[in-house]
Amino acid sequence: MRVVFKTSYDRDIDLHEHGRSRARIAVLLAIMIVLPFLVGDYYLAEATNTLIWALAGMGLMVAVGHTGQVSLGHAAFLAIGAYADSALMNTGLPFLVSFPLAGLVTGLFGALIAVPAVRMSGIYLAIATLAVFVIVEELVIMLEPITGGVGGIMAPSISILGLTFDRYAALDHFYWLCLAVVALVTWGYANLMRSPTGRSFLAVRDSEVSARALGINVTRTRALAFGLSSGVTGLAGALMGHYIGFFNYELFSIFISINLLLVVTIGGLGFIQGAFLGAILITAVPQLIAILRDNLVAVGVDLSGVPGLDTMIFSLILICFIIYEPTGLYGRWLKIRTWFEVFPLARRDMFRRQKSYLKTERMK
């Protein structure tokens, strides 16, 4: 087990406790940067998709994992982000302006909704956000001049300083763009969580009454968290629009909302890393199932006629996680790591006490 010898408070304030974890992040980032030279277009597109999902997952994680507000409406924020970005670009704004603006618009919309909605919690908030989703979906269809209605619109091609970031013409550039956005947001998110604002989010999640007694304005904190959450999700939506290219309201279905909840729950509620692990799982599983299907055909078993196989496997995974590992993939990883760190002194009941649920997971 590694014990860090701390000589100043800065060691606790820093993002990383020791150089080794800083190095690990650097190596990971380096691999991500050179990825376009290592893999073909197919896998690069998949990696881009995973990054976008991780971004949206981080957005939802702020609300669900760190502030305890369950949302079933985040697909709506993806949609608002995507349409806002395309609409702004169509007015002639460059991507560098329209993209942050799209996030801002979505964030403000989210915060606006949050003001009445945050008075609710648990299942009631989930239903309220679901209602918001339905409203936004209808609005998208009705606002045909901007959104193209049922027909949908083409996301304009991105170009920054004369360099094209088109998803089809220059996938590697688009990948780097997504990577840069994700890296920036992750950095900001990690900063947030080590600052007073992040702590107030956790306070509101774990005990509203004592948060109030400590001087935290619960309504404002929740609205801020929900606004940030929808803002980041809006950014992800904008990228998703460019990634898909041509999209209509069907891209942002209720299933996207549910998949996003899967990302944060399976990944590990309350961990930024969880959003990434969840995104990897959610984007990789359909591919794995497809590969499995092909291989089974080779040995003479044809499952292509079985409908709903993907959904069934997804559901099974979710159920298993909720029963056996409520802390998600990242929680499991922490346990595995601890097991190795204290080897051979790990005890079976070491984590028993920690199997307490976050307020998010309980029905209030």
Partner: protein, 256 residues
């Protein structure tokens, strides 16, 4: 002028008069205890002072300011901190983070600065940490700094909650049954800490407590309440000898 003045305070939940016209005042630097049988309205008085409940009647004045209509989250900023009867800590954070959350009213940065983690945020964090370390030293919590609340024994959590209240840098601290569920040794520690809070930190303490040995040891004045009304007020010995108090606790005496 008294630090805290409560006049004719009352709250009715439908037909239930949980607190029904209670008046008292707490002087600066005093340890004031409220005692009474279960359901007497002691914790309700606390919730009224910390503005979690809206009073039906009456007035609360703190430090010369009327707080009867203040919002719950403005109370901490004025200098009133509290603990809860059934520990209300942030279970999924470490002891250190819990104490740092107590510094919320002293934050000088907004969320944009926080996200960018500007040098100012770091400076502030160091400052908060220094204050929190003083509390950790005072309450001897050094061994638990990085431990999650969820895994801590009851006695330690109780102390962490007092620590979180102290971290806010209050003038008045409300302790809701600080000794309930504690062992004899732990209760003695609490008694010493209350003494030190008053003597070294210049705090005023208002507490609700059932443990009469603790009340006798630390409090200057005691108020006994039953059924939402004041029964007696005075030194611990006076109050305990009061016939109405004995009747309320033992169910005999005064009436007979």
């Amino acid at each position: 002028m008294s630090l805290l003045e409560v006049e004719d305070l009352a709250i009715h939940f439908g037909g239930v008069k949980a607190v029904d016209g209670v008046s008292f005042s707490v002087e600066k630097g005093e340890v004031f205890a409220i005692i009474g049988p279960n359901g007497a309205g002691k914790s309700t008085i606390f919730n009224l002072i910390s503005r979690i409940y809206q009073s039906t009647l009456g007035r609360i004045q703190f430090d010369g300011q009327d707080i009867t209509a203040s919002r719950a989250h403005d109370i901490a900023g004025l200098g009133i901190a509290r603990t809860f009867q059934n520990i209300e800590l942030f279970d999924h954070s470490t002891v250190l983070d819990n104490l740092l959350m107590g510094r919320h009213t002293h934050r000088r940065t907004n969320f944009v600065q926080d996200i960018l983690f500007l040098p100012k945020v770091r400076r502030e964090e160091r400052q908060h940490r220094r204050r929190v370390e003083q509390v950790i030293e005072f309450l001897e919590l050094e061994a638990y700094r990085k431990k999650m609340i969820a895994g801590l024994p009851y006695g330690v959590r109780k102390v962490v909650e007092i620590g979180r209240a102290l971290a806010t840098g209050p003038k008045l601290i409300l302790l809701d049954e600080p000794a309930s569920g504690l062992s004899v040794e732990e209760t003695r520690d609490v008694a010493f800490w209350i003494e030190d809070m008053r003597r070294d930190m210049g705090l005023t303490v208002l507490m609700v407590e059932h443990d009469m040995s603790l009340v006798n040891q630390v409090s200057d004045r005691v108020m006994a309440v039953a059924n939402g009304r004041t029964l007696a007020m005075g030194t611990p010995a006076e109050v305990q000898a009061h016939p109405d108090v004995m009747a309320a606790y033992l169910g005999t005496g005064a009436a007979a």
